[in-house]
């Protein structure tokens, strides 16, 4: 992948299994968002290709929804309007049921009629996740979705996302620069280098959920990634 005359990504070769939770981890500006945008079909790569179930990705598709930071919710629609945004092909009754189901799943009961400006950052993020899930996609792409949230809300949202992922079994590709976050969430962590980004290592996180964040295995895996990136886990 080239951007102007700068190589952004090189030799990225990655297979993701169905229902797998994969985190793409890398330093800021390394091109991990670009990678996710290519995989989602928003940007055409200058070389190489993305295939899903043998089918080449050339454009975005409702079967695979991209979740932005909470700024991606439509400010002119209520929470339920946002969640139902992609359901325009469904008959009204079915749409209503689907919205109610996902309002419930992300815990927004009582806020269905609220506009985004009336919601907190965490709630807006829930709206966006629900909007994505409502169209029943096979894959979710999340681009640093919790980056703008405060640290307490971020922890809660991680737990929520895992709960939803376990209930709905979507494949998830999750871009983050937060090492702890990646080890808490993912089945596999893909560690990228700085630009031009290539895959430094793929780390299997062989800890079942719910994960104990003080277990020796968690700390071992986390510290191995810190070491991989060249950081001593000390301040």
């Amino acid at each position: 992948m080239r951007f102007g005359s700068i190589d952004v990504l090189q030799h990225i070769d990655l297979d993701v299994r169905e229902g797998e939770f994969v985190c793409i981890l890398g330093p800021s500006g390394c091109g991990k968002s670009t990678l996710l945008n290519i995989v989602a079909g928003f940007i055409q790569p200058t070389g190489g290709e993305v295939t899903i179930d043998g089918e080449r990705v050339i454009s975005p598709d409702p079967r695979r929804i991209f979740v932005f930071q909470e700024r991606g919710v439509f400010p002119w629609l209520t929470a339920e309007g946002n969640i139902g945004f992609g359901l325009f092909r469904l008959p009204p009754e079915e749409r209503r049921k689907r919205i109610a189901h996902y309002v419930n799943l992300v815990g927004l009961n009582g806020f269905e009629r609220a506009f985004p400006r009336e919601l907190s950052g965490g709630m807006k993020q829930r709206v966006e996740v629900a909007r994505a899930l409502a169209v029943n996609p096979d894959v979710l792409y999340l681009d640093e979705p919790f980056g703008a949230l405060d640290s307490i809300t971020r922890l809660q949202m991680r737990a929520e996302l895992l709960r939803i992922w376990q209930a709905e079994r979507k494949s998830i590709l999750f871009v983050t620069h937060d090492i702890e976050e990646s080890v808490q969430l993912a089945d596999r962590v893909v560690v990228l280098t700085a630009r031009p980004a290539h895959i430094r290592r793929i780390v299997d996180i062989d800890i079942p959920h719910p994960r104990d964040l003080s277990a020796p295995r968690y700390i071992q895996l986390r510290d191995s990634i810190f070491a991989e990136i060249g950081l001593a886990h000390k301040i």
Partner: protein, 273 residues
Amino acid sequence: MKKKFEVRSSNEEVRGGGGILHSSFALRTSNLLLPLVTAASSILLWHAAVRFSGTKIFPSPFDVARAIGQLADQSLLWRYIGDSLARVACGYSLAVLLGVPLGILLGWYPDAGRAVNPLIQILRPISPLAWMPLAVIWFGVSNVAPIFLIFLASFFPIVVAATHGVRTVPPMFLQAGRNFGLTAPQLMSRVVVPAVLPRIAIGLRVAFGVAWVVLVASEMIAVDSGLGYLIIDARNAGKRYDLVVAGMLIIGVLGLILDMLLRRAESWASERR
């Protein structure tokens, strides 16, 4: 040494709600009261200035009030106001109906924007009043000339606001819309239009301000009714400066009322963000 910090919620704080209610009431009164105080003192100052300067030309507030009464008696007041409002309504709505869609298209298709933008940027800074001689030749002494000038005055600010609005729609919204499989017309009606509405509303209000100014000026030349005509006629037909100032005052007050209405529409359009 030990220090003890305590946070206690006392009855007084619980009653704080009443305080908030009270202060919002106070805010409302002062919203109304302060402008009224200013208006009253301006009229007093005006009166005193006329009185003490002994001017024979500039009318006192009483003269102006009498002049307005006279106009109302001759039923000229309502006819002139009606004529002016009808002209501004025609020219302005035409500008809205053509300007909003054109602006959205120019913002949406970058090539169309690049092609048409230079023309708009050349025509835009020309005061609509500069078109007056041509308007009179083309349309004669009729309602069409002022309507044309009002149209010109409001058209360009509306086009520019809509174009700019579309160009600054956050790319994320468009990306999300495409991701959910919206067709181009759906993307336009379900994402672009609602996203630019607040910006267009601001443009509409700015445009109306210009239109109102141009209306009065155009009525001084091209027609024989309306508030602009009232002013020029009062001066020509007998140096009735009380009527001149009465006309000015009516124009100002009507402009204020219309601006308040548009402000309300604007906050309605942007209240959801």
